[in-house]
């Protein structure tokens, strides 16, 4: 059990089956992704991301800065990124609201900030525990077009895999990237395999500085105009059209989903995040009985895997949309499915968890 070693530059060697909480997984994954620094402000239920990062950071020569609030945590993350550091932050609920201003700036300037969200109940202080109510906020919370990537994880293994992936996606495409989990995922514990991605042959996209680069601007290299302010509408519009064209070009490449039995399903259960676990289990149980039920889960909420979703929706008669919110995820789906006649049946439970039994029961009523 000594594979997880204390060597300064190789925090993870070998692969190891371990038992952790989700928050802890994020800290280890950031380490595995060779993140340089975390900026953060405490808020439940993500506190242990910080706690574990601050325990690991001194051992591996990593940085941490506790700021005075989430606005500052977001803007310092931007500073870290502009200096060429793989920087990240983590927050939840009201902290996610404050985080939207810096993330919108990162969106404007195409800065690869990585933000981990552990959703809690809302509105406002709500509960510190759990919800899926930060979907719209995380996908579209800025005063812009929502040009950011949002991965919605369901298991601890995914929290590890997608936190590593988030750094790669952010630095490869230069869009702010979120890992969207929730308080249940943050706090619950389950086994997973932690590994060194480089040893697995995964390329880690290297960071590079935006400012302070060698050479004379305008002579040796183009000047670095990193702007979030424009004088006139047309100037802004031109920049945005460029960003949107980039977004549309890579959206299908970034989009990910998981599906089960959708080929022959009359009813498809659609869910994301931790709720998708209940949906999947329910569908497996119903299919074992021979019922024509399928399962579809967008892993990316932004960009949504629209092509795959459309194919499923064209084939199915009904979609059962399950989420721990009052139709936020449903709204994303409706937009993607506009024009189709497939019926969307809601199972919305704002702020509370969903069990496989509930999904099974609802499916039996419908089929």
């Amino acid at each position: 059990m000594r594979e997880v070693d204390n060597l300064a530059d190789e925090p993870l060697t070998g692969e190891k089956r371990v038992f952790m909480t989700g928050n802890e997984v994020v800290a280890w994954a950031a380490l595995a992704a060779q993140a340089d620094i975390m900026y953060g402000y405490p808020i439940t239920p993500q506190n242990e991301v910080m706690h574990y990062w601050t325990r690991l950071a001194p051992k591996y020569n990593k940085g941490f800065l506790q700021t005075e609030d989430e606005l500052s945590a977001g803007f310092t993350t931007i500073g870290g990124v502009m200096a060429g550091k793989k920087a990240f932050t983590a927050t939840a609920g009201p902290g996610n609201i404050l985080m939207q201003e810096p993330v919108a700036m990162a969106e404007a300037m195409r800065l690869p900030v990585v933000v981990v969200i552990m959703q809690r109940g809302g509105p406002s202080t709500g509960t510190v525990i759990y919800s899926q109510q930060e979907v719209m906020l995380t996908a579209f919370g800025g005063n812009g077009e929502g040009l950011r990537v949002v991965y919605s994880t369901a298991t601890h293994q995914e929290l590890f895999d997608y936190t590593i992936k988030a750094f790669n996606t952010a630095w490869r495409y230069r869009f702010p990237t979120f890992v969207l989990a929730d308080g249940y995922q943050g706090k619950m514990r389950e086994p997973l395999t932690i590994y060194n991605p480089v040893e697995r042959g995964l390329e880690l996209v290297p960071p590079e500085p935006y400012v302070g680069r060698p050479g004379t601007p305008g002579v040796d290299r183009p000047p670095g105009h990193f702007r979030n302010t424009y004088n006139v509408e047309e100037e802004l519009n031109e920049v945005l059209r460029g960003h949107i064209a980039d977004w549309e070009r890579v959206a299908e490449e970034i989009a990910e989903h998981e599906a089960l039995g959708t080929e022959d399903a009359k009813l498809v259960v659609v869910a994301h995040g931790v709720v998708a676990r209940a949906a999947k289990e329910a569908v497996q149980e119903l299919r074992a009985e021979g019922l024509p039920v399928g399962y579809f889960r967008p892993i990316t909420l932004r960009p949504l895997p629209s092509a795959a979703l459309l194919a499923v929706a064209r084939q199915a008669e009904k979609l059962l949309v399950v989420e721990s919110a009052y139709g936020q995820f449903g709204r994303l789906l409706r937009e993607a499915l506009y024009g189709l006649t497939v019926e969307m049946v809601p199972l919305y439970k704002p702020g509370v968890g969903v069990t496989p039994e509930e999904v099974v029961a609802r499916c039996r009523e419908i089929v």
Binding site: V4, F19, W28, T44, H51
Partner: protein
């Protein structure tokens, strides 16, 4: 009904020679000597997610099943009422007296400050056995100081729960460093597991690591815990001679 297990097999000379370090309580624990007239007073401390609550809950139920009067105290003041919340009724039905917040009687916990339930402060004044489920880390362990009489209680044993499948306590050095950070600790529990993926080998490897750490710390390993089906394979003692306590998982129903 006096239960006296005289201990003979499986113990090494090395372990025997260390006995003078132990308080009488630990001796009692270590030798598996239990009499119904003696109080069992145990506090479970340790790292976040090390299995403190699971060990405490199982211990309380085990004692209640022996017909003993048991009080289980949720002493987590950072995340009170979350941990034992969904299983309080089940524990009461099993004969365990539970001192823990009920959600509806509290407000703003975890955000608005921390609060110790008055009954928890005076729990050591109760008759019968008292099991404390203490909050995590060094700050959690300090919570024990808020319990009236904790420093003087002759029966109190503070047990650090270790899961060597957790990367923060996966090596002998890390376990030693962690236990030293906790303040008073009288014994260790090897709770090494991988949830439903736990095999006897996982538990035994943990037993070796925890035993090695215990030797450095000069502390006894009071027990190895394992899911009932895994415990059945291992037998009454693990590879290092520690008594094996079969446990049932209550905590997966407690989301946090």
């Amino acid at each position: 009904m006096n239960q006296v297990y005289v201990y003979a097999k499986g113990q090494t000379i090395d372990g025997y020679a260390r006995l003078h370090y132990y308080s009488w309580q630990i001796l009692r624990q270590f030798f598996g000597v239990t009499t119904i007239s003696q109080r069992v007073v145990e506090a479970y401390v340790g790292e976040y997610a090390s299995g403190k609550s699971e060990c405490a809950v199982n211990r309380a139920v085990e004692l209640a099943c022996q017909g003993r009067q048991v009080t289980l105290v949720d002493l987590d003041i950072v995340e009170p009422c979350y941990t034992l919340r969904p299983i309080q009724d089940e524990l009461r039905a099993a004969g365990v007296d539970v001192i823990a917040w009920e959600t509806r009687r509290t407000m703003g916990l975890g955000e608005a400050g921390t609060l110790l339930k008055p009954q928890a402060r005076w729990a050591l004044h109760r008759s019968g056995d008292v099991i404390f489920d203490v909050g995590y880390g060094v700050a959690g362990a300090r919570t024990l100081n808020l319990v009236e009489g904790a420093a003087q209680d002759p029966d109190l044993v503070v047990l650090a729960v270790i899961n060597a499948s957790r990367p923060m306590t996966a090596s002998v050095e890390d376990i030693v460093e962690h236990v030293r950070s906790l303040g008073r600790v009288d014994g260790l529990i090897n709770n090494t597991h991988l949830a439903e993926e736990t095999t006897p080998e996982v538990v035994q490897e943990g037993a070796r690591l925890v035993a090695a750490a215990a030797r450095i710390l000069g502390l006894p390993v009071v027990a190895t815990t394992a899911l009932a089906e895994v415990a059945a394979v291992i037998g009454p003692r693990d590879a290092m001679g520690h008594p094996v306590r079969p446990i049932k998982r209550y905590m997966p129903r407690a989301f946090w």
